[in-house]
Every structure is written in C-alpha cells, then in structure tokens.
C-alpha cells in the first residue's frame, strides 16, 4: 500500500504561543470546577500578556483561575453560577470588585449557564428549562437571557435560554495526546469544549497516541475540536488536578488574603506572575516544598 506521505499534524504548542490565541474582548470559556482542574498556569500567562476586556464563561463553578484574571484587570464581564475558593472561602477579587461596583456580572445559576452551553453544543437556537425556574430570581434579573415562550405541544409557559458560544475555551486535564484526545480523571466537564469555537487543552502530561488508544474509554475531550495542546505540569496549581495533586491550601489562603485589597493583590501579582516571567519561574517561586505538599493522596496533608 502506498501512503500519502504526509504526517498527521501535532497540535502541541508552547504555553506562550497558545496564550497568543486569546485576544482582547474575546468571550473566553474557563474550565475547572471551583478551584479544581482550573487552567491556572494559562490564566497567569494571559495576565502576563496584558489581555483586556474578556468576557468569562466558566464551565460551571469557578475559582482561582478566574478570580486572578479579575484581579489583574483582564475581564470586562463575567457569567456566573458560583465564584469561590471551595472550602477556603470567598474568591477575594470577585467579591471586592463586585462590592465596589467594578464588575459586570451576568447573574446566572447552574441550570441557566449550562443549558446555554448545551444549546451551543447541540446547535439549537435555545434550550428550555424545567418548570419552577421562574421562582429563581436570576430570571427576573436577566430578561434578555431568560425568555418565556409557549410550549407548542402543551400551551404551557416555558423559560428558555439562548446558546452561549465562547470564542475560545481553555481546559486543563491530566493526560492528553498531541492530537487533542484528552482525559479527565475525575469529574467530566466536557460540555464546554463542545460549546466553543476554539479549544485549548493544557495538560499535566502529553501522552503517546498508543497510551490514548490503550485507554480510549477514558477519553472525554474530543480531539477533533482541539486547536492546541499545551504541556504544563502543575498547570492547575494552586488548584487541584484530579489524579495528580491536591489543592495547595496554604497558597490559596495566601492568595485569598492578598486579594482582599488592591495594593496587596498587586504585590501578589508582581511576585507570582510578573516577576516570575514564565511557568517555570512561577513553580520556582512556589518552591519544591509547596509543590510536594500537594501530593497528599497517600500521605500527609490536612485530611490524612
């Protein structure tokens, strides 16, 4: 058999190159569930690039990976169901900027947000929500997003939401091959990448295609939709990466404290983002002891 002689194209890019795909004013989908599985290193990289006026659409709940973008002034508007640092407490920049009137928040709930993404993924013009949603005040607050229509089958009133289609989504996984076949070890938040125009996957490890094929039932990210694959070990730090490391609780507490005030947060950004000019420098700054403290599945750590 003759082959065509061409090679399958790798999607692997360095972090710095992938970050250039984010442009001012974009609608950016952020992966992760609160501070777990967030593309944190990617967020720090676009802060270094000075990106502005983003509209952030989290998969669902979001934490550090979004809060740091808010604090660094990269965001114009944010769709929310939840912004917080899990059991650590409030997301400090989100809270401070909201309470001082500096943030445009599209106030949603999980159902509205995820059904908007679902409409986008399914390619339909709107998605109906279950009865009872009219009792949730997000509906009153966002008449442009939640609309009431008549069900053509029963005549009942139904609340519907429009598609939410991010220009670009960035998600973090533990394993992905060079063609974008990614695996989420823990919770499955595949909806975001099906809903977005472009997709960047950051991964703890780029695995050989053979490894993907040997574990293909675990693949949750559809490689065809992925535009760039970026290898970023500790890419979710200080959040958790399922199957790899836990939240760096000490760092998140430090982050939270710094974020309560504009001046102290600027100092935090200087220390961990601007002066640490790339991801390696960031990891150096965090230090080996800090990184090792997150490897607590088997020993040590708060819960062990």
């Amino acid at each position: 058999m003759e082959s065509c002689g061409k090679k399958r194209k790798s999607k692997v890019l360095p972090l710095e190159e992938a970050a250039k795909l984010v442009e001012d004013g974009m609608m950016l989908g952020m992966g992760g569930c609160n501070s777990h599985m967030g593309p944190s290193a990617f967020a720090r990289e676009i802060i270094r690039r000075g990106v502005k006026d983003l509209t952030i659409v989290p998969t669902n709940n979001t934490g550090y990976q979004t809060d740091i973008l808010l604090g660094a002034g990269c965001v114009k508007s944010i769709y929310i169901s939840y912004v917080g640092l899990d059991y650590i407490g409030p997301a400090p920049n989100f809270r401070r900027l909201a309470e001082t009137g500096q943030l445009d928040i599209v106030e949603l709930d999980e159902m509205g947000l995820l059904r908007g993404l679902k409409a986008s993924a399914a390619g339909v013009d709107f998605f109906p929500l279950p009865g009872g949603i009219m009792g949730v005040d997000v509906v009153k607050l966002n008449p442009e997003f939640f609309k009431t229509v008549e069900d053509p089958f029963t005549g009942k009133k139904v609340v519907v939401v429009p598609p939410i289609r991010p220009d670009l989504a960035v998600i973090h996984v533990s394993k992905c091959d060079a063609y974008g076949n990614g695996r989420e070890a823990g919770h499955v938040q595949d909806l975001l990448h099906f809903a977005s125009n472009k997709v960047i996957v950051t991964t703890e490890e780029i695995v050989p295609l053979e490894d993907t094929m040997a574990n293909y039932t675990d693949v949750t990210i559809f490689g065809r939709l992925v535009d760039a694959v970026v290898e970023v070990p500790y890419g979710a730090h200080p959040g958790e990466c399922h199957g790899c490391y836990q939240m760096d609780e000490a760092h998140l507490k430090k982050y939270q404290k710094a974020g309560r005030d504009e001046t102290t947060f600027k100092a935090y950004l200087d220390e961990y983002v601007y002066k640490a000019q790339n991801h390696e420098a960031y990891l150096d700054k965090v230090g080996i002891a800090g990184l090792l403290s997150t490897l607590t599945y088997h020993k040590g750590g708060k819960n062990e």
Binding site: C33, N34, H36, T59, N60, N61, I80, S81, Y82, V83, G84, D86, Y87, P90, A91, F94, R95, A98, E99, T100, G101, I105, E107, L108, D109, E110, M111, G112, L114, R115, K118, L129, P130, G131, G132, I133, M134, G135, V136, D137, V138, L141, K156, K157, A185, G186, H187, V188, Q189, D190, L191, T220, E240, H242, G243, Q246, M247, Y297, K302, N303
Partner: protein, 267 residues
C-alpha cells in the same frame, strides 16, 4: 419498646447528621453540593444503618456512591472518585436535577434563609454594587423541582434567618401557600422539608408554609432559638427535644470522620 442507648458526648454537627440520616430512605437517590460535610456523613450513616440501597451523587465531582473511607473538606476532591461506583458528566447532573424521575432529595444552604424557606446565595443590595457579594446561586435552584430538599446551616443568627431574602437563589415556598404552583414548580416537588441547625430543627406549617419549630437540641432553649432569628417562627405549645444520636449512630458517624472535621464546622 426497646431501650435505645443515646450518646451524650456528641457535637452539634453530629446531632444534625443523626437527624438527617434517619430521614433518608432506602432506594432513594440523594444529591449533595459543595461544603456538604454534614449531608455526606448522614448519607453514609443511613446507608450503613438502615438504607443499603440508598444512592448518592456528590454534585461538584459527580461521583456516584463514593465509598471513600472518610470525610473530606471538599466534595470536589478527587478522592471521592477513587471510591466511587461510577461518575456522570456535569451535563447529565443537570438532566437529573431537572427531571422528576431521578433525584429524591438534595441538601442546601444559603447566607440568607427566610420564613418560607427561600435561600439566597447571590447578593444583598443592588446587584451592580451589592452591600454583600456572595458566591452565586450555584446549583441551589434545584430546590425548585427536586422531590424534596433539606436546608442545613452551620450557625444561627438574625442575619442568616431573615424575614425575606434579598434574592431567591433556591425557591422554598416563595411567598406562602400556592407559591410553588405559581412559579411552575412540579406537583411532585414538596419543597423544603426540614431546616436543620446546630441548636434546633424546623419544619414548615402545612397551611401557612411558615417555618415552624419542630424540636430543640438538648442543652438549648426556645428563647435562645428565637433570639438567634430575624423573624419569629411558628412555635407550637409543646416543642420536644431533638433525639440525640444513639451510641451506635455516634460510633458510625465517627468512623466516617476519623479526622474529626465535624466538630470544626459549627461556630
């Protein structure tokens, strides 16, 4: 009747766990959210003691029937997957929450709870410049359609228990009788059943749908309960003491919480 031996050296979170666990039935499916240490323990205790066919999903991690050996701070923690029987996607969690065929009960909280059991997790004041900014509605809109819900709190204060919430994230009985029907809540959905706090339990009056004192935990008084609320609940002539955990229940609770996180929860 048999003489059940009750414990007396329990902490507030443990009496809450015991109460909830007794109300979860065999063969049901429950869902819990983030920061849900008390419901997680209650489900594990129920499964061990009287409901071996009870199923549960940890909402944020979407792990199913996790048998992880001990209570963790976060229900998003990967370790809950290590002990799980399966996982479902976030998208499917939404299907399940909105569909009456699936979930029997969920456990929720808020930074404001009003006399009709409505919950606020979003903000107080003007949304564009709120006096207080909370994390957001999250998944507690599900109280609009789950078969039943439980409200639990880690403390009691007049700022938490308010006459009327500033924003409804999780619908309780809305503005009273007929309130849930008006918003299109499905008829199978009974609304909040109990409010479980560190010092007392409440239910809701069948007619007025106003929160009603059901029992007071041993060592606490009705006056204390009233002083820690921003509205006056219905207080029946006779208010019993909450049944403490039995010795067996307490032993089980502690077996699921070897790191003793529960005593740290209630301030």
């Amino acid at each position: 009747m048999s003489s059940v031996s009750h414990a007396n050296n329990y902490c507030p979170a443990e009496i809450m766990v015991a109460f909830l666990s007794r109300d979860f039935n065999d063969s049901e499916l429950g869902v819990i959210g983030a920061f849900s240490q008390i419901p997680w323990c209650a489900i594990r205790v129920a499964q061990a003691l009287h409901a071996p066919n009870l199923w549960f999903v940890c909402g944020p991690s979407a792990s199913v029937n996790s048998k992880y050996e001990k209570l963790l701070w976060s229900t998003t923690d990967y370790r809950l997957h290590v002990g799980a029987e399966s996982r479902i996607s976030l998208d499917t969690v939404m299907d399940m929450q909105g569909n009456p065929r699936f979930i029997d009960f969920g456990c929720y909280g808020g930074f404001q709870i009003d006399k009709y059991g409505n919950l606020n997790m979003a903000f107080i004041g003007d949304q564009k410049k709120p006096k207080f900014r909370g994390p957001g509605t999250v998944g507690i809109m599900a109280t609009a359609w789950l078969r039943r819900s439980y409200i639990f709190t880690h403390f009691m204060s007049p700022r938490l228990f308010v006459e009327k919430v500033d924003f409804i994230s999780g619908p309780g009985f809305m503005d009273g009788p007929g309130g849930r029907e008006k918003i299109g809540s499905p008829s199978y959905s009974e609304g909040p059943r109990y409010v479980v706090t560190p010092i007392a339990i409440f239910d809701f009056d069948e007619e007025t749908k106003v929160m009603r004192l059901k029992s007071v935990h041993p060592g606490h008084t009705i006056e204390e309960v009233k002083s820690r609320m921003g509205f006056t609940p219905i207080i029946p002539d006779k208010v019993p003491e909450t049944e403490p955990p039995t010795e067996v229940e307490l032993e089980l609770i502690r077996s699921f919480d070897p790191d003793r996180l529960l005593p740290l929860l209630v301030r």
